[in-house]
Assembly symmetry: C2
Homo-oligomer: 134 residues x 2
Amino acid sequence: MVKIQCQRRNTRQRQVVLEELRASFSHPTAGDLYRTVVARMPQISLGTVYRNLEILQESGQAIRLAGCTGQEARYDGRTDPHLHFQCCKCARISDLDTMLPLLDELVGTTVEGHEVTAYQVVLRGTCRACGSSR
Amino acid sequence: MVKIQCQRRNTRQRQVVLEELRASFSHPTAGDLYRTVVARMPQISLGTVYRNLEILQESGQAIRLAGCTGQEARYDGRTDPHLHFQCCKCARISDLDTMLPLLDELVGTTVEGHEVTAYQVVLRGTCRACGSSR
DNA sequence: ATCGTTGCAAAATATTTGCAGTTGA
DNA sequence: TCAACTGCAAATATTTTGCAACGAT
């Protein structure tokens, strides 16, 4: 059951997927990224985008977002610890700059017997755009 | 774009789905619940389980869990605010009793222009069972 | 030359939906 | 009564995978 770590190669496809992910602030799905990337590399396939997002995530260059499970997966090219806000009306996800030092302090400790190495937080409600347009 | 709220009925199927969800501590998927429920109601269909989980979630009787998006959706019948821990090895999700008052204080306020009404937190790492079995 | 990666297409998995009949209030 | 709900099955949506060719190191 041990996962073998192989020597990753820096392919053009992987570079472009990461570039487009970093250039996006909309927390895109694999399909969103595919549509963006295919404009630059018409021959790339959706399967390759999925495979590369998985690899980028494993290597810490991308984050698969926490949010409601069971939806299309969303990714974030911003890897520093930060909170997310998801609007219940428009479903858009925003990065927040607000810090919660208490959470950072949990990392590296044991909580109720479990070793914590990372965390993700999603605040929900009505976003600025949806709230002001009422 | 306004969602019409209709008068929900208390069907036997909905009752049983909620009962089994509350009796489970494994944060089951719709498929998990279907397999449990079908033992009591052999004629129930998977579509009905999906529809009822959606309705229970809307009415606040169940929560669709935060976790990595893009996985099979998981539900929780425990609706009081609490943190979750997901193990990176076995993927199991545990409820935590640890409180973060700071997060509770954000509810009802506006953060960076967004009105916060709820939050979900997932801590990740190695759970007690996986950590002790190394 | 090696072996990780790719494109393609099919398969697998997960969720939603149309419809006709059923049922709770 | 009658609109919400159900079972069924088909349709969609999302993700993974087998395979032969390709390409980074």
